[in-house]
């Protein structure tokens, strides 16, 4: 744990020091180009292009930061395992809860409140909010009994 205790100035990584400052500036430049693409891409209005440019590029940007700025490559392997385990737990949570949240109908249940909120929200269109409560909390609750949305501005 204290293998660098006697090297205060250079404590930490040694291997990444091979990179000059210009290397990090180049990575930053690439990140900025990716940022521009991620903003322009969705403007085209094509769903697949939006998914790739917005979310695909976010993953690429994250990879560049983790690899080059956080130096995960020269870190102890168990650090990578630790992070991947946490990500796996997150995926497990989403996978377990997802079916109940994403769907509003099941074999023997129906999330009436959620369906109503979706329907009313779509009908209201831009400039009007949905109802304020959590439609998933009480499948048969009356959405009209919940706090109404704030008056949305017209701009």
């Amino acid at each position: 744990m204290s293998d660098n205790a006697h090297a205060p100035a250079a404590a930490g990584h040694a291997k990444h020091d091979a990179h000059p400052d210009s290397f990090y500036i180049k990575i930053w430049g690439v990140l900025l180009v990716l940022l521009v693409v991620s903003v322009i891409g969705p403007e085209l209005g094509i769903r697949v292009v939006t998914l790739i440019t917005a979310f695909g590029i976010a993953i690429v940007k994250a990879y560049l930061v983790v690899k080059n700025f956080m130096h995960i490559g020269v870190e102890k392997k168990y650090v990578g395992y630790l992070l991947v385990t946490m990500l796996a737990l997150m995926v497990l949570m989403v996978g377990g809860v997802g079916p109940d949240v994403l769907r509003h109908d099941g074999t023997r249940w129906s999330n009436v409140a959620a369906k109503k909120v979706v329907e009313e929200g779509l009908k209201a269109g831009s400039g009007h909010g949905e109802h304020g409560g959590d439609p998933h909390a009480a499948p048969h609750a009356d959405p009209h009994g919940e706090k109404p949305a704030e008056p949305a501005p017209a701009h």
Binding site: S2, D3, P8, A9, A10, A11, G12, H13, A14, H16, D17, Y24, I25, W28, L31, L32, L35, S38, V39, P42, T50, A54, F55, A58, K61, V65, V66, F69, M70, V79, L82, L83, T85, M86, L87, L89, M90, M93, V94, V97, G98, V101, L102, A114, V117, V118, G121, A124, G125, S126, H128, G129, E130, P135, K147, A149, E150, A152, P153, H155
Partner: protein
């Protein structure tokens, strides 16, 4: 591995679950509620992009500070850490203007579930930005005197994680209209 760096990795691991839970929940609800598109169109893409630029740039200064500290150049490391803190401050200023405009326009945390997620996720992230800035103030003060230079990397690791979270918040809250 130095104990301090190991501790930061553990902290980051726990943060993955915290932000992962929030973002995962948001994503599921977003997919199940197409009407949220009527709300998300009111978020400002250019302000989100500006803040992404600011955080990416502050990550650059953080890693350059780490590079300087690795060479034993505490004064340069401190300067770069202060630049990173400045980036965090600029991020918060943009965020303040953004939120003030939205709240004034009637979009508050209680308006509906989309805005609840919006303010919760971005607010939690903003608190992490503030925490990172405070930590870096202490680290930079010591680094300027040539003390505890290994902490520059540790603070930087945390800051890069804060940047990473924003990299995913940006498309989820600002681009996916």
């Amino acid at each position: 591995m130095p104990t301090g760096r190991l501790a930061v990795w553990w902290l980051i691991a726990s943060e993955i679950v915290i932000f992962g839970g929030v973002l995962g929940s948001y994503l599921m609800h977003r997919l199940g509620h197409p009407e949220w598109a009527n709300q998300s169109i009111h978020t400002s893409t250019w302000k989100g992009a500006l803040n992404t630029f600011i955080l990416l740039t502050s990550s650059l200064s953080a890693v350059l500070a780490h590079n300087a500290a690795s060479r034993g150049d505490g004064k340069r490391a401190a300067k770069l850490l202060w630049a990173t803190i400045g980036g965090g401050a600029a991020f918060l200023v943009v965020k303040s203007f953004e939120w003030a405009g939205e709240i004034k326009a009637g979009y508050t945390i209680t308006s509906n579930t989309f805005w609840s997620f919006y303010y919760t996720a971005a607010g939690l992230h903003g608190l992490h930005v503030i925490a990172g800035m405070i930590v870096m103030m202490f680290v930079a003060t010591d680094a300027a005197k040539g003390k505890e230079l290994q902490r520059v990397e540790n603070a930087g690791l945390y800051w890069h994680f804060v940047d990473l979270v924003w990299i995913f918040l940006f498309p989820l809250l600002y681009i996916a209209k």
